[in-house]
Symmetry: C2
Subunit: 477 residues, 2 copies
């Protein structure tokens, strides 16, 4: 492709993207396609001759687009959001064009230094104390794995790295603690790092789905009594199912006393800490050893961009450091080489989009968005609360509402309730007008409505509520 | 930002990008900045009020751009390339705009199905046999870690995942094998997965830096005799220092016989397998259990895009599978949910750029580029060979030339040679006109010239050679 053709299609793509954003509400949120429908329209073998971009772009619109679930649709209420914004998309255009590898300082000094600066901005914005240092990871899954590895190495004097899990005489059994509501990435990380799932303790939660510190204490004591070394606690600042906030201060006091690594997974909820009136969620966060939240979830920055903070980067660097001749540079003693701050060697220039987003919105602009998302979730929760046919299944801590159809006095069994709410969910999602997902809370099949997509407003949750309460699945009830 | 402003800046950015590509040779390849020079121009705190995009874009050009090392400059000969192309950049614009999460099928059916199709295209293009299944990972580091984890679990009946490295009675000591020339990501992966660096065996190489199969055999025997279980061999199809090709068939026969997992790291060189005349490099690849190469290195596709193939995806899924309620969908039994094929839960829609690149170039177009890169590397090697002041330090297998200044009959010590070649390298890189990096081969300080940037042509290696042979650092010699 020559530059003229690129310029031509670049402009066409910009107009298409702008139109797409303008009309995004006309697309179904959840792709209506059945398994195999995209695949069957694509050839089994690659083309031998190059094709015109016009034809590829046509196929993108005809074949691919109908198979896309629109995470940028304002009626996307599913999972946690992966929101984006126009300044972020603009930055991604530049990032893709520069195509810079930010593995070491030399391979793009601005990549490293801008990352240092914007991570420091973020640290201040969420109120983590000075002394925490940030690095961008791809996902919270990866950040949590990094935390588990640092904890493993600190617990064993860096001997698993060097010798494996094989001390001379005694078993080096390490335990990890998280709540029964914790994210699946923790179990995955525990397996990857070689702890074994058997050594992951699921600490019970209270009626609001928060880890019970006394139960954590008991589990740690029990392990010590059995010769198992308590290694790492992972607290959720916002569980995935219900956004429950584990009590950080109480947990942090235990981990400090016990010399156990505390990692805080604030994947979505961390963004709320930029609001002065929500800053209380960070109470006790200063006691943690590492902290992660995802600007790619609820801070208008394209996936992937996960903000990982550590109290002592020395652990990170000592855990991950490699130093082959072909990566040495003359300034290695003066700079940060982020290749040693995580799992991957290769790194995109991800700081750029964060810089664009923070500057374009300004802290105030970001706060307004987050505040409004929380406000409309609370409004929605109010409607649920007032309607006798529905109930809230968990407290609404920030921008997630967990609810279900369960008419007052109906005495439907849990199985019946699950069936009806499942049908309700399916009907709503098939409409293409909104997308919710489900979970289970204390055994109850629960619908989740999360308000975090960049352009979601009161209008959208109003429409959602209207569709929910008038759905056919529950109209005969 | 409103859509009108986005449209306006989108068009300005497209023009800037097109101009940037048009004039890229006027930029210094290696950023000339000193540590701290970007940082000191940036405020310590984020702006409270939002800023105009025009101002951000100005700062990007004034502050950030001078700190970028230009990986897309045709005189970028350093490391391995991370090349890109205009169709790939166009696709990245769409990917960023859709902002779709491809963690499970439902979250974007086209994301999953296009990935299945393009990975099948790639499999055919490089001549891996039917039966290998592909998935896109972010980097070869991650893919290699996935392979190590699958090997670990296969060796132990999936018991490290469930129980950790603690069998009831005997030590479950597992060994991993790679050559002394292997990439640093292997040691990193061995540490992450809990094997311990002590259990990583560095197998000696021959005079062409290829793993010696007989030495591998001996190391496996020795481990068995000592009660250690041989678990995984990682062969390099193109080492980082010299692009040495480990003998896959001989190694594969050993791993098959011994029941050891064979992973092939073909990070850059794998792309050469799309050429019929270079297909011989894949001889024996059919014996491996997993294989990785990076279209983001030498197949004109933006970072990150690493193509990982496995013989039996069952190992991958069983190693990584998690199944929390909040991720369950009604079609889970009918579809691939790529969240279970790797470490991260979140996944970008990376198949799109690969689809754009393969279709826009066509297989023929890709072959022409790769063929030309190899041809100009060979030309360059010829000039080195003919100049009595220089020597080749390793055979030129594909697009990497390892050479140094070492005048015939000069009897300079290794220390003196290192000093001179280091000065030569520094002089060349400071010129901003080209960027090379170094390595050590059999103790010899060596310069590497890799021809893989998308627009690198004979003209650029000619200019590079002219600068090298007339450099001040060696003019007095």
């Amino acid at each position: 492709m020559d530059i003229k053709t690129f310029r031509n299609y670049g402009h066409r793509f910009v107009d298409w993207i702008a139109d797409f954003y303008e009309n995004i509400e006309s697309y179904p949120v959840l792709s209506p396609l059945k398994p195999g429908e995209v695949k069957k329209k694509l050839p089994l073998s690659p083309p031998i001759e190059g094709e015109e971009m016009g034809r590829i772009f046509d196929d993108f619109q005809k074949i691919i687009l109908p198979g896309v679930t629109h995470w940028q649709h304002p009626s996307f209420f599913a999972y946690f959001p992966a929101n984006s914004s126009m300044p972020s998309v603009l930055a991604e255009m530049l990032t893709a064009s520069l195509g810079a590898q930010c593995m070491v300082w030399q391979t793009s000094p601005a990549g490293t230094e801008l990352e240092e600066v914007v991570m420091e901005w973020l640290r201040k914005m969420i109120g983590l104390p000075e002394g925490f240092t940030g690095v961008i990871q791809d996902t919270a899954s990866t950040a949590t794995l990094c935390a588990l590895l640092c904890a493993r190495e600190r617990s064993t004097g860096f001997s698993v790295n060097s010798r494996g899990f094989y001390p001379d005489k005694e078993a080096q059994r390490l335990a990890v603690y998280t709540s029964t509501e914790a994210h699946s990435s923790i179990e995955k990380g525990v397996k990857i790092a070689g702890f074994g799932r058997e050594n992951l303790r699921f600490i019970p939660v209270d009626e609001e789905f928060r880890m019970i510190p006394e139960e954590l204490e008991k589990a740690i004591e029990k392990d010590r009594a059995e010769g198992v070394t308590p290694c790492c606690v992972i607290a959720a600042l916002g569980t995935t199912s219900s956004l429950a906030l584990d009590p950080l201060r109480a947990i942090g006091e235990i981990t400090r006393r016990e010399g156990v690594w505390l990692h805080v997974d604030a994947a979505m909820a961390g963004s709320a800490a930029i609001l002065p009136e929500k800053r209380y969620i960070m109470d006790g966060a200063e006691l943690c050893d590492s902290f992660v939240f995802n600007p790619h979830k609820w801070l208008f920055t394209n996936f992937d961009c996960s903000a990982f903070f550590v109290r002592d980067p020395g652990h990170l660097v000592r855990t991950f450091s490699i130093n082959p001749e072909y990566l040495k540079t003359s300034v290695d003693m003066e700079v940060k080489n982020f290749r040693d701050w995580g799992i991957q060697l290769g790194r995109r220039f991800r700081a750029l989009k964060l810089w664009f987003v923070i500057r374009s919105f300004g802290v105030k602009g970001l706060q307004e968005k987050i505040r409004e998302h929380i406000r409309i979730a609370e409004e929605f929760a109010g409607w649920v609360r007032e309607d006798p046919r529905f109930e809230l299944v968990a407290p609404v801590s920030l921008n997630l509402v967990c609810f279900r159809y369960n008419p007052a006095g109906s005495k439907l069994s849990e199985d019946e309730l699950e069936r009806i709410n499942r049908e309700l969910l399916e009907e709503l999602n098939l409409s293409g007008k909104l997308f919710l997902t489900h979970t289970k809370l204390a055994g109850k099949y629960t619908l989740r409505l999360c308000t975090g997509q960049t352009s979601t407003s009161l209008k959208h949750v109003r429409e959602a509520w209207e569709r929910i309460r008038t759905a056919r699945a529950i109209s005969a009830m």
